[in-house]
Amino acid sequence: MRGKMSFLMKGIYFIIILVVISIVINQIISMNLISVRELESINLRDRSRNILETLTGNKNCLAYEEVGSVEGKDVLLNSHKIIDLNKLEEFSSNFDELEPDCVRDFNFGYRVKVKTFPVNISTLGPETINIEIESDIWTFGDREFSEDESLEEMIRVSIPVVVRYDQSAFLPGMMSITLVNGELERLAGFIEESCFTEKESTLTLHLNYPVELKGNKICMKFKSGDKCQKLACEKTIEFHEIERPGNYKFYSRYEDEILKILV
């Protein structure tokens, strides 16, 4: 009896220890998973900030270039986060469905929105002046993104900016970016990168939804309807429709002036 009791008690304690060990292992695994997810999120946030900084600070993007004078010589100055209205107008018409050339991203998709705030100032006195300026909005970049299971992460980041209308009007505003990490963005980026480099490359990707090429747009067929991204590629693209979800390995090859995307 003595021996039997001891065996039973030892068994119970053994199970308790096993439970404790499994909790510890579970905690360690979940902490690692959190840090991997956090790292991806940091990467996405970092990238969105880089894009905004490039857009506002690069003269080939939206930065207003000011001609200053230093010791009698003309010097070009890229001013502090001041956006040139003319460049903004140009971007919103030329890149309505595309990422701009000056800051193209082959891993993520994004859309940028610039909004000025309304100004309403009136003077008090015998002669009253009313200055009323309404809010303006410009957008550019990808129009549609991955959805449901194909969407890994989406992030929105904003920075304060100044929009230069003319010499006497510099208005306050906000520039926001929606950056998306998903299957459609990665596939579109792969095709665009292959188109620019004309080099053979590969991409392994899990697709949750069917994909097809419609003209110069790559489309993913969701339950809610097709979502397409325009490809910044003027070459003829050969891409066979993918009808079923699954893991795919894509190969790109540029042959006879045709960009072939093979599975």
Partner: protein
């Protein structure tokens, strides 16, 4: 039986010890600010400093004055809210609220320190994280005077 009881107590102490250690380390880890939230905080701080610095660049048409010039003129003239540029008085206080409100709603406070203090914005709460940005602000004077400004956001 004595040996068995001793063994059981030892194992029990071991299990309780491990559990306590686990609970302590877990609660310590979740209290540590993650890298992600620190980066987010850095972004918010950066965004706040840019909002204040943009004061020097925003220029209103017709008046042809920057927000910084209007604020400086108000302080130099020792005025309460209004500055006169020859075509009526401009309410600088209203302009400051109109500028910061779209960015921060009612979550901001702006203070100018000169011979007297000027306060704009909303009541600073006591139980939240507050970001503060301090800078020297040039005054429109031949002596190169400066005043101190402090912007808070939460």
């Amino acid at each position: 039986m004595k040996g068995q009881t001793k063994e059981m107590i030892e194992i029990l102490i071991l299990v309780i010890g491990v559990s306590v250690l686990l609970v302590i380390s877990y609660s310590f880890l979740i209290r540590m600010p993650s890298t992600g939230s620190l980066l987010l905080e850095m972004h918010r701080y950066d965004s706040m400093t840019n909002t204040v610095k943009n004061f020097f660049y925003i220029r209103i048409p017709i008046l042809n004055k920057t927000y910084a010039q209007m604020l400086g003129d108000m302080v130099v003239n020792d005025a309460e809210d209004l500055v006169d540029y020859g075509y009526g008085n401009i309410n600088v206080t209203e302009i400051i609220y109109e500028y910061f409100d779209p960015y921060y709603g009612e979550d901001w406070h702006f203070r100018v320190f000169n011979e007297k203090k000027y306060d704009f914005g909303y009541k600073i709460p006591s139980n939240v994280r507050i970001r503060t940005f301090l800078m020297k602000f040039p005054l429109p004077s031949y002596e190169g005077g400066v005043m101190r400004i402090e912007f808070k956001n939460w």
